[in-house]
């Protein structure tokens, strides 16, 4: 099979993971900017990180013949410091002309605080000004429902944003309908415990339709599985799905969304 990994934090992964993904059929990997597991001490830390996402990491992936794309932002976990967050946002346009940049992400909320919401709004404004795709992280666990509603409302209220160019990630059974109703795309993240398992993700596809949903591993430095996407495909096979449907879900769907950015190109 062929598939796209639409959300993976490859800076946290090993070259063995690249090898495994390519052998499993991965045709492109997309890497949103995220929290490093610790707070960066200055805007210079983000400058280095953005260089890593737009230069070093695509070079590393290219050694495995895997196209690498990236999204830029300051993660909501670091949004309480408004001064730092605004310094980072001001720097993002300097990187937008890098050839592997897909848009602004993964922005969003973490604990649903006022400052997080302020920085989310400023990221959305940046995306509108530069006509960029948007990738949104929704909060974890008990904070997800409230955060998803706040995020969807904020974006819907900005008339400059085309909802078809927005993907709201980490949806689950209690949040997917808000995203679908808003005309946005949804991401199903395959985690062993804290997000969706493969059977649940497939249930959501069966209940809500497959044309604006994708699956991703969101593999990073925490408990996560870089091959979660092809494993989910195998679970769909077990349920009796054919290769044509798998190709639609795991390749054509993400290509359809990502191709709205002219930088995204992929060969089958």
């Amino acid at each position: 099979m062929r598939y796209i990994e639409p959300h993976a934090h490859m800076v946290s992964r090993t070259t063995d993971d690249y090898m495994s993904m390519v052998v499993a059929g991965c045709k492109a990997v997309c890497e949103p900017a995220f929290w490093a597991g610790f707070d960066r001490s200055s805007v210079n830390g983000f400058y280095d990180y953005f260089c890593q996402l737009t230069d070093y990491e695509p070079t590393r992936a290219a050694k495995f013949k895997l196209p690498h794309f990236s999204w830029l932002c300051i993660n909501p976990k670091e949004a309480e410091d408004l001064v730092l967050a605004r310094e980072v946002i001001a720097m993002i346009p300097d990187f937008m002309d890098r050839e592997n940049v897909l848009g602004i992400g993964e922005i969003g909320l973490n604990k649903n605080s006022r400052n997080e919401l302020t920085i989310l709004e400023e990221h959305v404004n940046l995306a509108a000004e530069y006509n960029q795709l948007i990738l949104v992280h929704t909060p974890h666990l008990e904070d997800k429902l409230k955060g998803t509603k706040l995020i969807v409302d904020l974006i819907k209220n900005d008339s400059r944003i085309n909802p078809a160019k927005v993907l709201i990630d980490h949806v689950e059974e209690h949040t997917v309908k808000y995203v679908m109703d808003a005309g946005m795309w949804g991401g199903l993240t395959l985690y062993p415990e804290s997000k969706c398992t493969s059977p649940r993700a497939i249930d959501i596809l069966e209940n809500y339709g497959a044309d604006r949903l994708w699956m991703n591993s969101a593999c990073d430095w925490g408990i996560s599985v870089p091959l979660a996407v092809p494993y989910a495909a195998q679970e769909m096979r077990r349920r009796g799905y054919d290769d044509e449907t798998l190709d639609q879900v795991f390749f054509k769907n993400p290509v359809s969304f990502l191709s709205q950015c002219p930088n995204f190109t992929v060969s089958g």
């Binding site: 929290w35 006022r114 997080e116 904070d143 409230k146 109703d181 009796g240």
Partner: protein, 104 residues
């Protein structure tokens, strides 16, 4: 957002397997294993005298949702912060898995 009662219009195309498999055959043993793990977890929490923990209380509340129609969605809602206003400031980055301020 209109709240929790949005009528969802299914997207097209809905997907269905070409050769539908028996879900009980596929998933019973896995679900059985998880059910026993839950029972064992509850025994352990009682044995350790930790039943007052807000997470365990939320867990017990969520179990009641197994009697509803949309079980997965209802369990997730039972474990969620149901308020709508942003908090003043984030004092932690972590989530607990259950809403600490849930009225009891």
């Amino acid at each position: 957002m209109e709240g929790d009662t949005l009528d969802f219009l299914p997207l097209i195309p809905m997907i269905k397997p070409k050769e539908k498999q028996n879900s009980v055959e596929l998933y019973f043993m896995e679900a059985r294993s998880k059910l026993i793990d839950i029972a064992s977890f509850m025994d352990r929490i009682e044995r350790d005298g930790l039943t007052d923990d807000f997470r365990y209380q939320a867990f017990l509340d969520a179990l009641k949702e197994l009697d509803t129609d949309k079980r997965a969605e209802s369990v997730l809602l039972a474990l969620s912060d149901l308020t709508e206003e942003p908090i003043l400031v984030a004092t932690t980055k972590a989530a607990a898995g259950a809403w600490p301020d849930k009225p009891r």
